[in-house]
């Protein structure tokens, strides 16, 4: 698990990576820069993932395989590692991070933790 998170945090602009239980929003593993509250990231990412999943299923696009919240001062990137109630692989990044690269590393990490 630690190795999987290493690959994500190595990407320039990534401030932290975590594995989160999608069901209860608890931290499974984390590698975060100072100042990032892991438990808050975990709870919020899991909650948003749940709401997004319901909306996407209603829209007929199926469950998400990757999602990306863009904000003024950063971004939250998430890959659900397995089905409902599984693990979320989460990255917190600077606004100018290479999204494509982080996405690839998140998908790799997701494969590694399943």
């Amino acid at each position: 698990m630690s190795k999987a998170l290493d690959l994500i945090t190595r990407v320039r602009g990534v401030r932290g990576a975590m594995l989160v239980s999608a069901e209860d929003g608890l931290v499974v593993a984390e590698q975060l820069m100072e100042g990032i509250k892991g438990s808050a990231v975990a709870a919020l990412a899991a909650s948003l993932a749940g709401k997004l999943r319901r909306a996407m299923e209603a829209a007929g696009t199926g469950t998400s395989v990757f999602w990306h919240l863009q904000a003024d001062q950063g971004a939250l990137l998430v890959v659900p590692a397995s089905g409902e109630g599984g693990i979320l692989v989460v990255a917190v990044a600077e606004p100018d991070v290479n999204i494509g690269l982080v996405r690839l590393e998140l998908l790799r990490a997701a494969e590694a933790v399943v």
């Binding site: 990032i36 509250k37 808050a40 990231v41 919020l44 990412a45 909650s47 948003l48 709401k51 997004l52 319901r54 909306a55 996407m56 209603a58 829209a59 007929g60 696009t61 199926g62 469950t63 998400s64 395989v65 990757f66 999602w67 990306h68 919240l69 863009q70 904000a71 003024d72 001062q73 950063g74 971004a75 939250l76 917190v92």
Partner: protein, 279 residues
């Protein structure tokens, strides 16, 4: 100024640390003096940041001012401080109901009922939710404490066919513009089987938006600008052309997220212009 408000104001002036601000704020709110109620609630909250009732009062005033996003945060905070705070639980149930998340609304009401099994307002709220279905136009709140005014009028008179005219082939399909309460302003959505899912998805969107804003804010990421997602059968991008409106773009899985984001930016600009023109 009525006598009770005058008396409560005098009491608070004598002892600014007292909890009389709760009664004063509520009295002002009930009189519809929302700006004054907001000031009282904020001042009280500054002095008593760990008091669940203070967050509850602030949330009720925010709800009356239609600031549902911040109201959600405040009720959420109240429940974190006091998990059995029935006013906050009913308030959250109301906000979930408002965005069409019936399951969450019922779950919060159920929690409130466990704390206060004899509260008739909880049974009434259950009846309303089960009878009313999704995303009500102007529900009365399940909480006697929360009494929001009717939401802004729906934009039914707007020429919704013109919102996205000229964009991506000129079709409204796969583009959905909704207001902050989850009501459709323009566009349409169909699922893989061709069924119209416009209203259902619209009801969910406000919940996603609320959560996205809350997540970005609480993580110190600033204001959120967009949410892109790849699904198993299609990709979506969610943006907010104005503070009160949400735009969803749905496309087939074959459209890369980068291109979808560009399309969404164009649609967002069009929706913003259309909203400014029509409202």
């Amino acid at each position: 100024m009525s006598d009770d408000i005058r008396a409560l104001s005098a009491q608070l002036a004598q002892d600014p640390q007292s909890l009389v601000f709760l009664r004063l704020g509520e009295a002002l709110r009930r009189k519809g003096q929302l700006d004054q109620a907001l000031r009282v609630a904020m001042n009280g909250l500054e002095r008593h940041p760990h008091l669940a009732d203070a967050h509850d009062l602030y949330a009720r005033v925010l709800t009356d001012k239609h600031d549902y996003e911040r109201a959600f945060d405040e009720w959420d905070m109240a429940v974190r401080i006091a998990p059995n705070h029935t006013g906050a639980l009913k308030g959250l149930a109301f906000l979930y109901f408002k965005v069409g998340d019936i399951a969450q609304a019922e779950a919060h009401l159920e929690r409130a009922r466990k704390v206060e099994p004899g509260d008739p307002s909880i049974d009434q709220a259950f009846e309303m939710i089960r009878g009313g279905g999704k995303a009500p136009a102007a529900p009365s709140p399940p909480s006697a404490a929360a009494s929001p005014a009717a939401p802004a009028p729906a934009a039914g008179s707007l020429d919704e066919a013109r919102v996205f005219a000229g964009l991506d082939g000129g079709s409204n399909e796969g583009l959905l513009l909704v207001d902050g309460a989850g009501r459709v302003l323009g566009g349409a959505l169909r699922d893989g089987g061709g069924g119209d899912v416009t209203d259902t998805v619209a009801a969910y969107l406000a919940g996603v938006s609320l959560e996205a804003a809350r997540t970005a804010k609480l993580l110190g990421l600033g204001a959120w600008n967009g949410l892109s997602a790849e699904g198993q059968h299609g990709n979506v991008h969610l943006a907010h052309p104005t503070s009160d409106a949400l735009l969803l773009v749905v496309r087939e899985r074959g459209m890369p997220l980068g291109r979808l984001t560009i399309l969404a930016q164009r649609a967002t600009a069009m929706a913003r212009r259309w909203l400014e023109k029509e409202t």
